[in-house]
């Protein structure tokens, strides 16, 4: 990117950036920072915007281009507001500050970035100073930050405060001549950082700068620090902005769920079709060890809920043989939700895999060493995130982990069980093929559904469902864990969790219904269901129970809304099909009402137990 892209061409920016090497991104960021977000939105009103209020101790203007480019890499438009110099304490402490008014006006995900640097400590050391003095200042600073985080949590509902650990400059440690004193400073400094990292609030994210510095990024340039009060280098701020980009992507509901791997030169070295199972490089030899290391990391991701699949240009039998019998393999067939070894284009395989898993291809990450295959997938399926693997397998792990594709705010037990559930789904598909009709299948499936107020331990999972569910999501209103907690505490609202099971096993918590009582009207604020289980009657049975509950609790009518997105078109007819009348409808969505004169259609093959948790709502 060597010129300012016109606002009208925003949709092509993400693809352009995907082709750029890291060292070309700062330049692209400086161009993107000059784009007026209002103009982009005028040309493309559906562009997701993330609001970022940047405050801190030093000069942080370099974050504007860095955030612009890192968010654009995920298709997100950064709305950046830069606070006055060194205003972070005032910004966070005063509920009427510019920070809170700006975040309060944000339409989508909103973040306050309080960028901390070692200067907040160094500036308060008395002359002369000892390790004790530094420990005291550090303790006071972290205590202050903890208080500010509490104010933030109480004031900026739904927004996220991003803090960071403090790099420890040698210019400080080396000023202490006594070896024990110097070590004491190092220990106190790490303790302060550890306290920051332990700030366990759903509204707070702490970016740990240590792993970024360990990659060889310079933390500070004394000249920039002394003359321009820029206490962190542009390079470090760029790496920090990348981490913020990952947080923004999660908050915008763009989580990735599936990792699709090529096999030859990705999972093992060499070409199976030419070298044969004995000739591939895995477990042994320099390259073989590098591939094994990569396989272990893939397994590690799989253990945390990432669905792993393989798409390889190979004959199916030798691939199955290697996954089953090769003594050096770490990954086995049971680690994959599907293995597609054939000679058809990879983008066709990805599209079919998405259909089988009932997921959008946009939730896929595709890793391949072949530039040809990557280019083709990028062109045919622009929503897929493509990981550029090279001919150097020792770099595969770094490439895979570079963009935190699968990061989540909180991992739930559902996440860990997900791969097994999808494998059960394969078994269900086999079972389905034995029936003439879907009804016969559903009757034999023995689906049980439990609808009940979400208990406190389930609220994170409910938030996650609002963030990750795109298809069966009637309003696509994303809710942070804190917002779900607020709803659960609201006496006029109710957060109901949908759990289900069938003869193949537990599905766990698969959906949520958000209700609000407004006088004689019961409002369904949102209805969400995991794509794993819809179209089996669960949604009709649950909505029927809500209607029954409305009637039994003397509601006059039930109201519900549908808000259209690019992904939820298939549920546009959900309410009308259940007997709701349309109050009004336009391109953006529709409002419905059910007058409760006719009972809902029964769903005979579902055994449902419903508990609405007392009289209200």
């Amino acid at each position: 990117m060597t010129e300012l892209p016109p606002a009208a061409e925003w949709p092509s920016v993400r693809g352009l950036l995907a082709e750029l090497p890291d060292d070309a991104l700062p330049r692209a960021g400086r161009f993107l920072a000059r784009l007026d977000p209002a103009e982009v939105l005028a040309a493309h009103p559906a562009t997701p915007v993330v609001s970022l209020y940047v405050t801190g101790h030093g000069t942080l203007a370099a974050l504007r281009p860095a955030l612009a480019v890192e968010l654009a890499r995920h298709g997100l438009l950064a709305g950046v507001a830069l606070a006055d110099f060194d205003a972070w304490v005032r910004d966070l402490a005063d509920p009427a500050s510019e920070l809170y008014t700006t975040l309060g006006k944000a339409g989508g995900p909103a973040f306050a970035l309080a960028v901390l640097d070692p200067g907040i400590v160094a500036a308060e050391l008395p002359p002369p100073w000892r390790a004790d003095d530094a420990a005291r200042v550090l303790d006071a600073k972290v205590t202050l930050i903890e208080k500010l985080a509490a104010t933030f949590a109480a004031t900026a509902r739904g927004a996220t405060l991003v803090l960071n650990t403090l790099p420890l400059p040698r210019e400080l440690t080396a000023q202490l001549l006594d070896r024990r004193e110097r070590a004491a400073l190092g220990a106190a400094w790490r303790e302060a950082n550890a306290r920051l990292l332990r700030l366990d609030r759903p509204e707070v994210a702490v970016v740990d700068l240590d792993p970024l510095l360990a990659e060889g990024i310079r933390a500070r340039d004394p000249r920039q620090s002394v003359y321009a009060k820029a206490h962190l280098t542009d390079d470090l701020l760029a790496a920090y902005a990348r981490e913020v980009g990952h947080l923004a992507r999660q908050a915008a509901g763009l989580a990735k769920k599936v990792l699709v791997l090529d096999l030859d030169e990705t999972v093992w070295g060499g070409v199976l079709g030419e070298a044969g199972p004995e000739g591939i490089e895995v477990a042994e030899g320099y390259r073989g060890e590098a591939f094994t290391r990569f396989q272990r990391v893939v397994r590690q991701l799989g253990s945390q809920g990432v669905l792993v699949a393989a798409v390889s240009k190979n004959d199916p039998e030798p691939v199955a043989g290697v996954l089953r019998d090769h003594p050096g393999m770490t990954l086995r067939d049971g680690d994959f939700v599907q293995v597609r070894a054939n000679w058809r284009p990879k983008h066709d395989n990805l599209a079919e895999l998405a259909a089988d898993l009932n997921l959008a291809v946009d939730s896929f990450v595709f890793a391949d060493d072949s530039p040809f295959e990557r280019g083709l997938v990028r062109r045919e399926l622009p929503g897929v995130a493509v990981v550029d693997l090279t001919a150097e397998p020792a770099l595969h792990v770094a490439a895979l982990l570079r963009d935190g594709w699968f990061d989540v705010p909180r991992l739930t037990s559902e996440d860990r069980a997900r791969p097994a559930r999808y494998r059960e789904e394969d078994a269900r598909r086999g079972f389905l093929e034995g029936f003439d009709s879907l009804d016969g299948y559903l009757a034999e499936l023995g689906t049980e559904v439990r609808l009940a107020p979400a208990d406190p331990a389930q609220l994170d999972r409910v938030s996650q469902i609002t963030l990750r569910t795109n298809q069966f999501n009637l309003t696509t209103r994303r809710l942070s864990p804190a917002e779900v907690r607020d709803l659960a505490d609201d006496p006029d609202a109710r957060v109901l969790a949908i759990a289900s099971a069938d003869r193949f096993g537990e599905h766990g918590l698969v959906g949520a219904v958000l209700l609000r009582r407004d006088g004689a009207v019961l409002r369904v604020e949102n209805f969400l269901l995991s794509c794993r289980v819809f179209a089996r009657g669960i949604e009709q049975a649950v909505l029927g129970a809500v209607l029954e509950h409305a009637r039994a609790s003397a509601a006059r009518e039930v109201r519900a809304a549908y808000r259209r997105t690019a992904k939820n078109g298939r549920v546009a007819g959900f309410y009308p099909e259940a007997g709701f009348a349309t109050v009004h409808a336009d391109e953006a969505g529709a409002e419905f009402r059910h007058d409760l004169t006719r009972p809902p259609e029964p769903v005979p093959h579902i055994r449902l137990s419903a508990d609405f948790g007392g009289r209200h709502p």
Binding site: R27, R30, R34, A61, A228, D234
Partner: protein, 75 residues
């Protein structure tokens, strides 16, 4: 070393500033799209390009882009 033409190209392509050679002598606050933070980035870019240190403190006081160029190219 870096020629004046290369310097203008760096300002346009790397710093994303819509300037020409005619703008170099203008007072910085009248340069289109100029922001004081550009000076910091410009120092870094010039050091990377020329392989020699730029006198930061003096650059921060420079009145124009041509003054920055002179500081970066004369020892």
């Amino acid at each position: 070393m870096i020629s004046v033409e290369e310097y203008v190209a760096l300002l346009r392509d790397e710093l994303a500033l819509p300037v020409t050679e005619d703008d170099l002598g203008r007072s910085l606050d009248t340069v289109d799209a100029w922001d004081s933070v550009h000076l910091l980035t410009l120092c870094t870019l010039l050091e990377r390009r020329t392989g020699r240190p730029v006198p930061f403190a003096r650059v921060l006081e420079a009145p124009s882009l041509v003054a920055v160029y002179e500081l970066a190219t004369t020892s």
